[in-house]
Amino acid sequence: MIKPMVNINLNNVSYTYSGRLEPAVENVTLSLDSGEITAITGLNGSGKSTLARLILGLLKPQEGQVCLDNRPVNSYTLAEVGEKIGYVLQNPNQMLFNTTVYNEVAFGLRWKGMKGEELKARCNQYLELFHLWPLRNKLPFNLSEGQKQMVAISAVLALEPSCLILDEPTKSIDTLRKKILIRVLRDIGCLGTGIIVISHDRSFVDALGGREINMVKGKITAYETRR
């Protein structure tokens, strides 16, 4: 399936949290396109997650501008941003709203108006992808942290957004699921989905390929392109 293109532009963006002196993100200029895999790396507190929240319009930059498809991101509603960009938080517990794993994956799709066989087929596809089918009737909160993480990723992937931001996606998942995740991300990247991964996991970032952006104290210090 050919995805609609999404272009994300950050122009001299700076953000300082209230009560802090040091900016969390400082003078970041960046352009991200559909079909591109970008890994944002850096130490704890280097501004990686803040950058993701700025891209999504969850934080408003004090300086500079974040544009989504040449329009300031703040001119979109969050639901409109969600149509274009899928976001997986570090903490999957904040992304689980339903009483079964199946309903969790179906949640966003139902709100989009999908139903019947189409909904069932889409949910099954993403549940099978991460070996979650046997868990489909389980309460998501009772799963292990790694399984919760996979449910959260599946639920966002099922929406098939044009761009995907994953914040520390491999934090609690096992080696098998990490390999599956790498394969799936590379596959959807080839289909035109832009992927932004925030990660400390060196092996994961290396296996994913694409472009790597390193952040130190809120600034981008290095760009590197891998194959």
Binding site: L78, A79, G82, L89, N93, Q94
Partner: protein, 241 residues
């Protein structure tokens, strides 16, 4: 002048008690002036106190709500049989706003105290440590839970739910979805915390020591005595008027 936390607790308790026992707008006005003076003397930033002017619409709603329940006074605005605004309701509404501001002022006095010192003061006042600890944990987790709730609101919208366009019949469903992870998170945190507390020897011994110490100085006793005396005089004078 640095006062002991207990002195501030007594001042806040006196002011909020006066705010609750009186309903007369003039008396509450006097108590509010005393509160502002106390805040100034205790060097509490009055800026945050005056920030509550932003709630002007809430105050107006309070006045209108009073009108629906209070029959007395001259009607100023009426819709059919319904008195939307009467002179008496305005006075009652103003009294409620004044009471609200006094309670906020008392809260600001408490907010100016160091949390650890306040908990220590409560312990010195023979409040059971379990209760003091519960208050401490409650205060500690408020920002965490606000942050989690905000994240949940964001992610639910990013999953395609436009909260502004949700139909009335679906509102409850959406709010159940929002509060389910929050309640789970609170339950999970409580469970983990109880395990960690047991592991770290919580209440293994009947008494505990504190790193910080607090002590009442002469000035604290003078101010507490003066505050209590003035409060009694105030109550007596008002009852005689």
């Amino acid at each position: 002048m640095k006062l002991d936390v207990r002195t501030k607790l007594v001042i806040a308790a006196i002011l909020s008690t006066l705010a609750i026992i009186y309903q007369n707008a003039v008396v509450l006005g006097v108590v509010l002036i005393i509160t502002i003076v106390a805040l100034a003397l205790l060097k509490v930033s009055l800026q945050s106190f005056f920030d509550f002017r932003k709630l002007i619409y809430l105050y107006l709603v309070l006045i209108v709500i009073q009108s629906l329940f209070i029959r007395g006074g001259e009607p100023l605005i009426t819709i059919g049989e319904l008195h939307l605004l009467t002179t008496e309701s305005i006075i009652y509404g103003i009294a409620i706003i004044l009471r609200f501001l006094i309670l906020i002022g008392s809260g600001l006095i408490l907010l100016s105290c160091n949390l650890s010192e306040m908990l220590l003061a409560m312990d010195r006042m023979h409040i059971p440590y379990e209760i003091v600890f519960m208050i401490q944990i409650g205060i500690r987790f408020i920002p965490v839970l606000i942050n989690e709730l905000s994240n949940i609101f964001d992610t639910i919208q990013l999953r395609g739910v436009d909260l502004r366009k949700v139909y009335k019949r679906k509102v409850i469903r959406v709010y159940i979805s929002i509060f389910t992870p929050l309640i789970y998170s609170i339950w999970q945190k409580a469970e983990q915390l109880s395990i960690l507390l047991e592991l770290r020897g919580f209440r293994r011994y009947p008494t505990r020591t504190y790193y910080r110490t607090i002590s009442m100085g002469v000035i604290d006793y003078i101010i507490i005595g003066l505050s209590l005396s003035l409060a009694v005089i105030f109550v007596v004078v008002i009852s005689m008027l």
